[in-house]
């Protein structure tokens, strides 16, 4: 979690509390000379038998004058290793195939956000980009926040639009587009001196090319010629996501409960629930530890199938991300606060996705179990 260096009861904490804005990640006044914060984070992620990801991120945010805030991030996403390709039942049962050769892909991404506070209203705009050799995405967003009830309640409204260009290293002539519009409404409510809750609904409407050009399904029949089908998905996707986040500090334990739940559904018939619960325990003035548990369960898309039925349908994908499965992730974060506001955070976690973890059972029989480990190192300081 984002943090500064002050403890409750100090002069700095009281001045921050007086101007506390529940849904802004940057303190309005962290100190007489501090106008912002900058940091560096690096992610290392490794899947068993599959790919590896390294992603360094450089970020910064600052106040300009009394009413303006700017935030910018740049990152490089480096993916290497074996990539899931298609599904084939040549061995008798459908199994996931991976690329024979190790692939390396680099993605450059960044975004900038500018906001201005005008009394009880804050308006913000954002611009983001993501570039890799076979995918480009450019997006912008507009957000408005309205503080009510002596800043105990905040309403948020947002609109975003993205334009994606999809190509393929296997098919140089592929040049497709996808456009997405997003709408957000959220409420943040201070419940008491010790807890607050935020609930946000996001509706997205996507139109264009959704196929994965690297995925295919190959099916052998006991009679007749085998079938081969590239990934074929609908040309639209409408989705709904409802995220609720809760924080409660327990002074007697000097710890804080952090809980989040998200419900997701779309017109591909995917239904998903994601729950994360964490406890951040202070250990003296400088140290804190945060164990966390995340559970995810989802149903399959209506056109998900590891085999090509006869006759072949107009829509079909054997992409395991569209299958029915569940996942459990555990992590622990250590947090160290040093003099001058320097903050060091180290998170280590694992991801275990399997058909057996799906809530209520009925996970997709051919879903390939995913085992992965990750580590995230973050360093930040105010300025």
């Amino acid at each position: 979690m984002h943090s500064g260096s002050e403890a409750p009861g100090s002069l700095h904490a009281l001045s921050r509390a007086a101007l506390a804005l529940p849904i802004l990640a940057i303190p309005v006044e962290a100190g007489a000379a501090e106008i912002g914060e900058m940091g560096f984070t690096i992610l290392g992620y490794k899947e068993r038998g599959l790919m590896k990801v390294v992603e360094p991120v450089l970020w910064g945010k600052a106040r300009i004058g009394e009413t303006w805030e700017v935030q910018a991030n740049v990152a490089l996403d480096i993916v290497s290793g074996a990539s899931p390709e298609g599904v084939s039942n040549i061995s008798g049962t459908p199994v996931q195939l991976v690329s024979a050769a190790s692939v390396t892909d680099r993605r450059y991404l960044g975004d900038v956000r500018v906001s201005r506070r005008m009394g009880e209203l804050t308006l913000g705009i954002s611009r983001s980009f993501s570039e890799e050799n076979d995918y480009r995405s450019h997006a912008y967003g507009i957000e408005a926040r309205w503080d009510l009830n002596e800043r105990n309640t905040t309403l948020a409204f947002g609109y975003g639009q993205s334009a994606d260009s999809i190509g393929s290293t296997l098919e140089p002539t592929l040049d497709e587009r996808r456009d997405t519009r997003e709408y957000l409404f959220g409420v943040t409510q201070v419940l008491s001196r010790f807890d607050l809750v935020q609930s946000t609904v996001t509706v997205a409407r996507g139109r264009g090319w959704f196929n994965d050009p690297y995925k295919f399904t190959r099916t052998f029949y006991p009679d007749g010629a085998p079938a081969f089908l590239f990934d074929l998905r609908p040309s639209s996707r409408d989705s709904f996501a409802w995220l609720t986040r809760y924080r409660r500090h327990v002074p007697g334990a000097d710890g804080t409960l952090q809980a989040e739940y998200r419900y997701y559904s779309d017109d591909w018939d995917v239904r998903a629930h994601t729950l994360e619960v964490a406890w951040q325990q202070s250990l003296g003035e400088r140290w804190a530890v945060r164990p966390a548990l995340r559970y995810h369960t989802q149903g399959a898309a209506r056109f998900y199938s590891p085999v090509v039925p006869r006759p072949a349908p107009a829509e079909l994908s054997s992409d395991p991300r569209l299958a029915a499965f569940g996942g459990i992730s555990t992590s622990v974060r250590g947090i160290l606060k040093l003099d001058g506001g320097l903050l060091i955070e180290l998170t280590v976690g694992n991801v275990h996705n399997t058909r057996d973890f799906r809530a209520g059972g009925n996970g997709s029989p051919t879903y390939p179990t995913l085992q992965a480990w990750y580590g995230i190192l973050g360093i930040s300081r105010p300025f």
């Binding site: 979690m1 984002h2 943090s3 409750p8 904490a13 009281l14 509390a17 007086a18 506390a20 529940p22 940091g39 984070t41 790919m51 990801v53 992603e55 991120v57 450089l58 970020w59 991030n73 990152a75 993916v79 899931p84 892909d105 975004d111 450019h138 997006a139 957000e143 009830n149 002596e150 105990n152 309640t153 947002g158 609109y159 639009q161 993205s162 997405t180 997003e182 409420v187 409510q189 008491s192 001196r193 010790f194 607050l196 809750v197 996001t202 996501a241 500090h249 002074p251 804080t256 997701y264 998903a272 951040q280 202070s282 804190a288 995810h296 991300r321 992730s329 996705n353 995913l370 973050g378």
Partner: protein
């Protein structure tokens, strides 16, 4: 939309306002709803590329060809 505004107003009705000078605990770093930008991006990268569900907290983030 009107239903959500009603939910928001109902949520407010049951809560006594907390004055600014009473918000010391709410201003704690571990009470922030968002982690640092770098940490949030790293966590999203870890999970979003392997699940069908995404989004919920912001808009205008764009997409990727993550595999």
């Amino acid at each position: 939309m009107r239903a959500w505004v009603a939910v928001a107003l109902l949520a407010c009705a049951g809560c006594a306002p907390v004055a600014p000078y009473q918000r010391a605990y709410l201003a704690r770093p571990d009470m922030a709803l968002d982690a640092s930008p770098g940490m949030m991006r790293a966590m999203e990268r870890t999970f979003s590329a392997k699940e069908a569900a995404n989004g919920g907290s912001s808009v205008g983030g764009g997409g990727c060809g993550c595999n």
